[in-house]
Subunit: 121 residues, 2 copies
């Protein structure tokens, strides 16, 4: 499983506005191949939010970032004045993944020279 | 949905050892009430890992931290010399949660005075 997190630093007084944009937004994710799960996560300190999405593979995520659904999803609602800095994307590969009825462990070794996520269009 | 993330800063040369501890560990999560999902996530830069768990509620998570399963799960494998700093726990509440077949939106307002996660035994 591949996970992408977009870390948002929200102006504390604008948290309600930020959340409302996400509540009203049509994500177009459910029609996206390889989509597993999405959550907008409200952190435990003011201003901290993560948009968290899980995918069957890194390729599925990359294909989504280049899709029409991605462009449509990101045209809705302006974050101008709501963020106190640029969002930061970090990505992850699950090494162990458990649900109440399953456990998946991957065997791949970590790549010691990995350089962080780069969005390439 | 309540999410707890434990952020690990792993000595880059010890990543394989760190992962192996998690691969071999019995989490005892599947027997835990309110457990939804767990993943050990390997980050996109060397040394960065998150243990990510989802719960039906904050109460289910707190109950787990006080349970025998939690103690048993955390007695396995020493992280001595593997981490370059103490793990940092951050917790989250999902505002919007989507799967391929569902969409849940919560109505609660953010609490502007929330102070971050405190583990209380």
């Amino acid at each position: 499983m591949f996970v992408a997190m977009n870390n948002f630093d929200v102006v504390p007084e604008r948290e309600a506005d930020f959340e409302q944009i996400w509540r009203e937004r049509e994500s177009h994710l459910q029609e996206t191949p390889g989509f597993v799960e999405f959550a907008l996560l409200r952190g435990d300190t003011p201003g901290r939010y993560i948009s968290h999405s899980s995918w069957e593979s890194e390729q599925a995520f990359m294909d989504w970032t280049r899709s029409e659904a991605f462009v449509k999803g990101h045209q809705q609602g302006s974050l101008k004045g709501i963020l106190s800095g640029p969002p930061i994307v970090t990505t992850f590969e699950s090494v162990v993944h458990e649900t109440p009825t399953s456990r998946v462990v991957i065997d791949s070794e970590p790549d010691g020279s990995r350089k962080g996520f780069q969005l390439s269009h």
